[in-house]
């Protein structure tokens, strides 16, 4: 294996570590809000590292731009769904308090 493949492999590994950290947070945090915090942040950064690893492996500029676009779109939709889940959880908590 060449040097750039080792670099790509290490980026992929770091990305997977972030995903595992996010999954751990999902399992161990006590509350919906803290779980959302762990998931959205760790998953987006993990995805960024994985995309960096794939781009280094492929070596093509157009593929890299497409992958970065995919990453930006996933960040958008992940942020929106995080907000919607938090809003629904807040409403459920308010209903339970009444």
């Amino acid at each position: 294996m060449e040097i750039h493949q080792y670099v790509a492999l290490s980026f992929l590994f770091v990305g997977v570590l972030f995903f595992i950290a996010g999954a751990f947070g999902l399992l161990r945090f006590p509350d919906t809000y803290s779980r959302l915090h762990a998931l959205t942040k760790a998953d987006n950064i993990g995805l960024g590292f994985i995309i960096l690893g794939i781009a280094i492996e492929m070596g093509d500029l157009s593929v890299f731009i497409k992958l970065v676009l995919v990453w930006v779109l996933i960040i958008f939709s992940s942020a929106t769904s995080c907000y919607l889940i938090a809003r629904a959880a807040l409403r459920m908590d308010k209903n339970e308090q009444e």
């Binding site: 779109l73 958008f76 939709s77 929106t80 907000y83 919607l84 809003r87």
Partner: protein
């Protein structure tokens, strides 16, 4: 001919996930596990060298079906005053019944496994016939050629099934309703802003997938599902859509996929003496025209099915708008 370790791990995860998904007491967990199951199945399709099916499974089979399930569950949970007692006993309670059923189905599985084991490991399917006739079909993607040209009857009836299901869903519910407006209960500015920014991109990607179906994985169904995603997000964030058979335009949109397919079949049948036998010179344009109309039809149908499964088509005061006095 060795099996990759990844395949073993994936197969084990899929079996474990199936068992857990049916077994958990909470229905929300069950549906979320179903969505994850669908995504991993899409990964399995990629391992089986079927990228078209991976695309369809990820978009329609997993995400759209999951959304339909969540909508139905949300409607049932929001209307029920009593927490459903099933959380205690999930199964039919007799132990003997469960165990004997498990043994019987395992036996059936064993028979199926023996049948599969006897099939030859290498065999020639219809691959050669499809590939040798591919230049005459008008498209370069073999799966699209099979769907829209070689086995066009199947796709014709599939679009017919979609039309039938829309009619049936409308027949179940209140047919006096005209415009579905969800702004009162579900209005969300963030979702509206998300749609405002991204729906042009979604429509563009949808039509690109339609165009790319000729030479790469893609096609009418994936494009239709993408456009339906825009409609579903609009309904979820508080919008209003005219989902009703009372408008002539909507009737046209629902029926145009099926109707255009039949019309093309009859018109080419005049020339080539067989229903749906495209003349090879015109095949490319006919396929593309059928796909465009089918995409529009499929998108409208899927949005209406979402509204039907979420309880939006039932006559309730908080989310529907009736147009009074105007004949449309």
């Amino acid at each position: 001919m060795y099996v990759d370790y990844f395949d073993y791990v994936l197969a084990l995860i899929l079996i474990f996930l199936t068992w857990q998904m049916l077994r958990v007491k909470d229905l929300l967990t069950s549906i979320v596990l179903f969505i994850i199951f669908g995504m991993l199945i899409a990964l399995a399709w990629m391992q089986l060298k079927a990228p078209d099916i991976a695309l369809v499974e990820a978009v329609i089979g997993s995400a759209l079906t999951g959304v339909l399930f969540l909508g139905a569950l949300g409607y049932i949970e929001s209307k029920s005053q009593v927490v459903y007692v099933e959380k205690k006993n999930v199964l039919i309670t007799s132990r003997v019944y469960t165990i004997s059923l498990t043994i019987l189905t395992a036996f059936l599985g064993f028979i199926l496994f023996l049948t599969m084991w006897k099939l030859p490991e290498q065999q020639v399917g219809l691959h050669h016939h499809a590939m040798s006739a591919l230049p005459e079909s008008g498209v370069k993607n073999p799966v699209t050629a099979v769907i829209l040209n070689f086995r066009g009857y199947d796709t014709l009836l599939e679009i017919g099934v979609l039309l039938l299901v829309v009619i049936a869903v409308f027949a179940l519910n209140a047919t006096r309703l005209v415009i579905i407006n969800t702004s009162l209960k579900r209005k969300s500015r963030i979702l509206a802003a998300f749609l405002y920014l991204l729906s042009p991109l979604m429509v563009l990607v949808g039509f690109y997938m339609l165009w790319a179906g000729g030479h790469a994985p893609g096609g009418a169904f994936q494009a239709g599902a993408m456009l339906a995603g825009v409609g579903i997000l609009m309904l979820m964030g508080g919008g209003s859509l005219p989902l009703s058979m009372k408008f002539r335009v909507m009737r046209f949109i629902y029926a145009i996929g099926f109707a255009s397919f039949i019309c093309v079949g009859i018109l080419v049948g005049n020339e080539t003496r067989h229903f749906l036998q495209y003349p090879p010179s015109l095949a490319k344009y006919l396929i593309f025209m059928i796909e465009i109309f089918a995409t529009i039809s499929i998108a409208a149908t899927l949005v209406t099915l979402f509204a039907g499964c979420t309880g939006l088509l039932l006559a309730q005061e908080d989310h529907v708008v009736k147009v009074k006095g105007k004949s449309l």
